[in-house]
Symmetry: C2
Subunit: 466 residues, 2 copies
């Protein structure tokens, strides 16, 4: 059985045994069977509970050995002292994929780690794989399948994640956005990042891969695998447990060895992964890689309602060692008729004097088009005021930005706006699927810079932009 086939048992099981299903259901009961039912899973489900005949309409079995059908996947949610014997039962029943939800193994220290190793070794001896322990398991929105004990909203997306904490399941609403597939590796006693990366890499539906890493045991295997995946799909990585004390806490959370941070940094870079510094940057990167084209070069044209905002953008461009491109003579002459002759014209382009004279919407459209037509410009950063102030709706240039983004599909546009209704404006712009909205000029530049790095990486690897 290949690793990919093994992973399919976890993500696309035809039948699943859930061991340790409670009779409680409803809010706060954290019942995996209930989540799975709500998800509309169409495979066979075998709840195991020796005290119950039926739960939520499913017939219960007292033990896996009593199920006289093939089981692709077992999900164990029992007290820690029952785990070993339950795994033994699963192995005897010929089950090759086991998720251990329960806490209390390597996550509580040495004693738990010893038991965890025993469990893993038994499974391996039988050719079975284990996810966890201390995990929320798996979500596959393309297969209506989940082992999450917290109900999730289904919203398939070409983003898929591999994490070591359930926060990336229940927090996906704000941390990553909707995902197609997700796995919480928990203590990562057996199935690891590299295994799932291979599976995600082969899945055509997955375009962007996100990793939340607390620690990795087999760094060589991981980085080798990542190196094979990154020329085809971007891998965005958030490493936590970066500091020594953070790493100690990671050891007691997922039992992970967090490793030296600078080694991760350099290995990430060498293997072509993109590392996010925090959850906010991770979210920015995800939206950028999902929705924006990779710029052909690193020259950003800045279009702004305010000189003060343009300066903030330029500072970050310099921090990132990006150039500040000059506009071409053609662009200059196009725009110079729109401003008084004594006003300086350059990049950042201050559209304000023209807005005051000729109106916001036509001017923003004209300027942005001129900027993106310029062969010296590879990407645009748009700065403007969001309206919702009575009498100032005319400042809303979001439709013009979307319109121009369609005319220039190879040049990414990011937006930083200020004003009273940032969220509505962000949703409006991003619903176009062509523009990414960021809450600061710094983050907008940071994102463009990451897209540029990706383009260079693909070029170095002999691949044209995706």
């Amino acid at each position: 059985m290949t690793v990919i086939d093994q992973m399919k048992l976890f993500f696309e099981p035809r039948s699943v045994a859930i061991i340790g299903v409670s009779r409680k259901s409803g809010p706060g009961s954290f019942n995996i069977l209930e989540s799975l039912q709500a998800y509309g899973y169409s495979g066979k489900v075998f709840p195991i509970n020796p005290q119950a005949r039926e739960i939520l309409g499913f017939r219960c079995h007292s033990a896996v050995e009593n199920i006289r059908e093939g089981i692709d996947l077992a999900v164990i949610s029992l007290d820690r002292d029952q785990i070993l014997s339950s795994v033994e039962d699963c192995l005897k029943a010929g089950i090759k994929a086991i998720i251990i939800i329960s806490q209390g193994l390597a996550d509580i220290g040495k004693e738990g780690k010893i038991l965890q190793d025993v469990i893993r070794d038994r499974a391996r001896a039988k050719g079975a794989r284990i996810v966890g322990p201390n995990t929320m398991g798996v979500v596959n929105n393309f297969h209506d399948f989940t082992t999450s004990f917290i109900p999730l909203a289904k919203s398939p997306s070409p983003l898929s994640t591999i994490c070591q904490s359930g926060i990336f399941f229940v927090g996906s609403y704000s941390l990553t956005g909707p995902f197609g597939k997700a796995i919480d590796l928990g203590n990562t006693c057996d199935v690891d990042f590299a295994d799932v990366l291979q599976y995600y890499s082969a899945d055509e539906k997955i375009k962007v891969i996100v990793l939340h890493i607390e620690g990795i045991e087999d760094g060589r295997k991981f980085f080798e695998t990542a190196r094979q995946v990154t020329p085809r799909k971007p891998i965005l990585a958030l490493k936590t447990g970066r500091t020594e004390v953070g790493a100690q806490k990671a050891a007691s959370h997922s039992g992970s060895m967090a490793g030296k941070d600078f080694l991760y940094s350099s290995a990430c870079k060498q293997s072509g992964m993109i590392r996010a510094r925090d959850v906010e940057e991770l979210n920015d990167l995800i939206r950028g890689f999902l929705h924006l084209p990779l710029p052909k070069g690193d020259r950003i044209g800045v279009l702004t309602y305010t000189g003060g905002g343009g300066i903030i953008a330029v500072d970050r461009m310099m921090d990132q060692n990006l150039p500040l491109p000059q506009l071409s003579p053609e662009t200059m002459s196009k725009l110079s008729s729109l401003i008084p002759p004594w006003l300086p014209l350059g990049n950042p382009v201050d559209v304000w004097p023209s807005v005051m004279k000729y109106g916001a919407r036509p001017m923003y459209r004209t300027y942005l088009r001129a900027l993106l037509e310029d062969e010296n410009v590879d990407a645009a950063l748009c700065i403007f005021l969001t309206p919702r102030i009575p009498g100032q709706e005319f400042f809303d240039v979001s439709e013009e930005i979307i319109e121009v983004s369609i005319q220039f599909p190879t040049k990414p546009i990011v937006v930083w706006a200020y004003g009273p209704n940032l969220r509505e404006m962000g949703e409006k712009l991003e619903s176009s699927g062509r523009v990414v909205f960021l809450p600061s000029a710094e983050r907008a530049v940071q994102l463009l810079s990451a897209l540029m790095e990706r383009r260079k990486f693909l070029e170095r690897n002999g691949r044209i932009a995706e």
Copy 2:
């Protein structure tokens, strides 16, 4: 006339002449008179327009010399080639405070700078002060007064700002939040940061001062003044034009000399100012200094729904050289009865196992109280899941957090949450005026760290916390 009396002419004028008022009004007309009217200003207003007899119900004069009453403040909004003679008219009429809205002086280069210097010298010779040019002027929400040519919503607050770009007027909705007073210094040819700082410092209604600095000519005067203000009120500073190219752009925006960034950094620190790295951090700091008590020490207790989130917080605490306090034996024994004996207990405190067993709201309250009762803990970082997922409303612990914040008024509480409705949750928590909500653990720790630095600064200066 003291500097404070001079500044009062700009912020609290009893009468104002507006020179260069257009007959156009409504959206997109950028009419200062209209903004002022909408603001409900109760002083005398004299619009100057030789072509009009009346605008918006105000009788027009053809020139300032024809106004036979005392004028506290003149606001000039004319083409650049008319500015000098208009200023001369104002000086002849005995006006001691002039705001020059118009662009086209030092902001366009050397020629404009020469003219600007001439204007400033003429004013100084007559004992008059100038704000600008290239400015939106002044807003004083305590005096119903504004010279902004973009209408603003009135919402007085103990925050007041001094900036060099109108973005901090119209962008205040998202960048700083509501302010009580604000001034855009524009090219800063005469009235400068130090002048306004003295005025703000003496104003009992102002609790927090925000600076947006593109460049400062007289650094010694500025930092000396700041040093006198900071022991009484926090000054939060955003410096832009940090990089060489950014500084060049600042020179052509507000005609400012941006100066070497590392010198600013060290002078900011010495004078007790708090420097924000970007607009997002500025906004965090503002809310923190407006709403939170200063912690007595630097020991943060972290309460989290998720071990993974706690690790992220610990990383940033280590980055900031903050300790990770141990919980006292009393706290440990209070909490240990709520979890299985084999589960590790420490800081960060993982409330999750208790949430699963006893429910989110009672457990979060119990744990947070225990944490803040602990004499080893000076501040709390709360991490939780925001609900709005059907059946998961029970995760909402915002009311418990607010309740506990009232019981521990001397220990600041910051919140990082993840989930679908961050904005509503943030508004709910912050409407209490006692808790600050941040979009990442990193920013939450960063804010607490700034409050701790402020406390230390006040202690060094022989002042107890405000």
